[in-house]
């Protein structure tokens, strides 16, 4: 019984790590996606500077997601990664390009354009591969014994392409609302106009994918449309409506902070929705949280330190954000 609870606590922690990753790296990948919308050097500088001090911390949550899965759900880790081989490798290569661009573009004039392209291209590849990987996971992964049992192209389906697109658009919206919050002047107005467009596109894409999902698998359908589950899960769409309304109002009334907060809530709710569909599986359609968990000895040992360290991490991460709070002035830039 204890073991059962432990694996669920861990499922919660891993889900939390992935969620934090998605919203944090979501906005900084989004900033990368928006790089081509301006050709102005100064505007690009401030866009990048708005995330420069925090991107590394944001990406560490991805390592925590992977490392955490390896530690406490090694079976899920060893089934999912071979199944998603190509999108994962592409995502990693994308992250390599965009990660180094943060430093490289300041170290060269000749190749600055190239690293700007790398920043955009890497962000695009990483974002769409994350979306594709999500879609491939939602549609289900074939397990054979204790290993992946499917083929090399199973991840590529119309559904996973749709989720890839949806996540990319969603990240761009997060990036745009982040920039509305962090920047001032002409570029802020530009971002606000883009945020309106992207918000509408995100709502459409999120809606499309959400309506598609229940028809992939009867278990999902049951979760969302049949009594008594539907009574509980219907809270999610109601909150989604509230978030969309806040997003709309925030962008309409030229608020700086509201649109970003509302965009974040939209992602959180989408994530909760996925959690509702998956439970009690960790790798749909057949690998459950309990089956995939490491032995209790591993779960306990890992849990003790994690419960101390995660609050500490949240504390100093919040501090780092606080230190770099406020607007980045586009006119100040660099001399």
């Amino acid at each position: 019984m204890i073991g059962l609870e432990l694996s669920f606590i861990w499922a919660g922690i891993i889900a939390f790590a992935v969620l934090v990753y998605v919203i944090l790296d979501g906005f900084d990948l989004g900033v990368g996606l928006l790089f081509p919308v301006t050709r102005d050097e100064h505007e690009r500088d401030v866009m990048m500077n708005s995330v420069a001090p925090v991107w590394d911390g944001n990406e560490t949550w991805l390592v925590l997601g992977g490392g955490g899965l390896f530690a406490v759900f090694p079976l899920a880790y060893s089934v999912v990664l071979p199944a998603l081989y190509m999108p994962i490798v592409l995502m990693l290569l994308g992250l390599v390009f965009r990660g180094v661009a943060f430093e490289y573009r300041w170290r060269t004039t000749r190749w600055k354009r190239l690293w700007d392209m790398a920043f955009f291209g890497g962000s695009l590849v990483a974002a769409s591969c994350q979306g594709i990987a999500l879609g491939a996971l939602v549609q289900g992964i074939e397990v054979d014994g204790r290993a992946y049992g499917g083929g090399w192209w199973d991840w590529l389906t119309p559904f996973s392409v749709a989720t890839g697109l949806a996540v990319t658009i969603g990240y761009a919206m997060l990036g745009a609302t982040w920039l509305v919050m962090k920047l001032d002047g002409r570029i802020q107005n530009h971002m606000r106009r883009l945020a309106r467009l992207l918000a509408a596109a995100t709502v459409l894409a999120l809606g499309g994918v959400s309506l598609w999902t229940p028809f992939l698998n009867y278990a999902y359908f049951e979760r969302w449309f049949e009594w008594p589950y539907a009574a509980w899960s219907s809270i999610v769409p109601i909150l989604v409506a509230v978030a969309i309304w806040r997003l709309y109002v925030g962008l309409r009334d030229l608020h700086d902070y509201t649109p970003f907060i509302a965009a974040l809530s939209l992602f959180v709710l989408g994530f909760v929705g996925i959690g509702i569909s998956f439970y009690p599986n960790i790798v749909p359609p057949s690998l459950t949280i309990v089956e995939a968990a490491a032995p209790d000895e591993s779960l306990w040992f890992a849990l003790v330190g994690t419960l101390v360290l995660i609050p500490l991490i949240l504390g100093y991460t919040a501090y780092a954000y606080w230190v770099f709070r406020g607007k980045i002035d586009p006119n100040e830039g660099y001399h």
């Binding site: 990048m48 990406e59 390896f70 880790y77 071979p82 290569l93 992250l95 204790r146 490491a294 591993s298």
Partner: protein, 472 residues
């Protein structure tokens, strides 16, 4: 182009390639983070601007190297699953939590405080900035501790049982973390990182001294690097010797390969200085050897018997030639470092440390040798562990994921192209930064990037912040 290789060989090449690229950056940043913490502390303590000049100079180089370390490290954390999923499933319960602790205690610490260390001096003040700098240095050391515990467990597994599905189940975490080879390996690697950094700092300073022997900052850093070298190299040779004796106890086949001992020597084994191992015939061709010295080093007794690879089943032998040569490269470079350190000490005692162009040239030549030695050392220990992933218990061939050869080949090719391009460019930028002397007009001209922007904004912004925040 990879048709002749099996998926297993390709996956091994891929891991070796990505991890070799990766280790270069932490090997440098572990030492450099500590160096930066020392420089910053010295600046705060003495208020001698030379230290601040050096801190700002090496900080920018650190930022680029650290960025490359981060992105190449993310790849590593996923590669266990993509290519070695059977290993992950079976060994994950033991090594997974250690790697989780590496992420939680070290990576977040580094990432959380790196921004403040790089961009935040003016925003947070000297005290907190010093704290952040120290936390980054501490994080790099913590990270080394956890990952070396993981690696050491794979070399000398302890504290576990094996369950019905073949998983390694942890029984005693203390025994797992502090497994028999861990203390030696950790000390050896951390000292290697410090030496690597000392050689780079020494080489770069010497480069500038060759152009201007009166350059104040370069004199300071050259002196610091040479002190480091002469203090740490003897210690490193001592620790390396202990590490070797530990390996002899727990992984005798590895030592046999390092020594090139194909045959057992009942009355004292010779030390083979050089030769060409011939694994098929079971002998070392063209060997130049010193009788009985190997027994003296490994057993502290000239006549102690030492078993050879003839006592090991063929299928359990590591590839001898690679281990044999990489070990000699590492040891040779270690003694070259000792030579450079001694030379600098003599020059210092004669008052000619900054007016010794030949010494400076030697320091420039030696500046990348720490990296070569680190790589050679890792090749020795990792190839020497073959044909196992978990020594004696799980074979490399059993560890592979059910991957198609084409998938591994394609991704390997992609990694090779991208890594050479991306990290090649990064190394070029680092070399260009190193070419400009600390505090020189050239250095000022190098674009300061986000560092300066973030650094100059706050003064004018604290005000606006206060006005904005209540509104939200």
């Amino acid at each position: 182009m990879f048709e002749v290789f099996s998926a297993e060989i390709l996956a091994r090449i891929q891991f070796a390639f990505t991890v070799s690229f990766h280790i270069v950056f932490p090997a440098f940043s572990i030492g450099l983070a500590s160096f930066l913490a020392v420089l910053n502390a010295m600046w705060l303590w003495t208020r001698d601007r030379t230290y601040l000049t050096l801190f700002d100079y090496w900080r920018k180089i650190f930022a680029v190297a650290f960025g490359m370390g981060v992105v190449s490290g993310i790849v590593m954390s996923y590669q266990f699953g993509t290519n070695w999923s059977v290993f992950s499933d079976r060994a994950g319960p033991v090594i997974g939590p250690l790697m989780l602790y590496e992420v939680l205690s070290a990576f977040f610490l580094e990432a959380g405080f790196l921004g403040i260390m790089l961009f935040g001096r003016k925003r947070v003040g000297d005290g907190l900035h010093m704290f952040a700098t120290a936390m980054v240095a501490f994080g790099t050391l913590l990270s080394a501790t956890w990952i070396l515990s993981v690696n050491s467990w794979m070399q000398t597994p302890a504290g576990f049982s094996i369950d019905e599905v073949g998983r390694f189940v942890p029984e005693d975490w203390w025994a797992i973390v502090f497994n028999p080879s861990f203390p030696y390996r950790l000390t050896h690697m951390v000292l290697a990182a410090f030496l690597t950094t000392a050689l780079v700092v020494g080489g770069v300073s010497a480069w500038h001294l060759l152009r201007d022997a009166s350059h104040r900052a370069s004199r300071r850093s050259f002196s610091m690097a040479m002190w480091m070298l002469i203090c740490v190299t003897p210690l490193q040779i001592f620790v390396g010797d202990l590490h070797g004796i530990n390996t002899l106890e727990y992984q005798p086949a590895k030592v046999m390969a390092m020594e090139g001992h194909f045959e057992s020597h009942p009355n004292g084994a010779p030390l083979i200085l050089f030769g060409i191992p011939n694994q098929a015939e079971g002998r070392v061709d063209y060997a130049i050897e010193i009788p009985k010295l190997s027994s003296l080093i490994l057993k502290r007794d000239l006549n102690a018997p030492l078993a050879g690879l003839d006592t090991i089943p063929d299928e359990d032998e590591p590839p001898v030639a690679i281990v044999f040569f990489s070990f000699r490269i590492m040891v040779g470079l270690g003694f070259a470092m000792l030579g450079l350190g001694t030379w600098a000490l003599v020059a210092r005692l004669r008052g000619r440390l900054y007016a010794a162009p030949i010494l400076h040239r030697a320091a420039v030549v030696m500046s990348p040798m720490g990296f070569v030695a680190v790589l050679a050392g890792w090749v020795t220990t990792e190839v020497g562990r073959q044909p196992f992933t978990v020594y004696g218990l799980m074979r490399t061939s059993e560890s592979l994921a059910p991957v198609a050869r084409e998938a591994v080949a394609t991704s390997l090719l992609a990694f090779i192209v991208v890594y050479f391009f991306v990290f090649g460019a990064g190394i070029f930028y680092i070399l260009r930064m190193m070419h400009a002397a600390p505090g020189s007009a050239d250095e000022e001209r190098l674009r300061d990037g986000p560092i300066r922007t973030a650094g100059t904004t706050p003064a004018s912004q604290t005000h606006t912040d206060e006005m904005l925040d209540p509104a939200e």
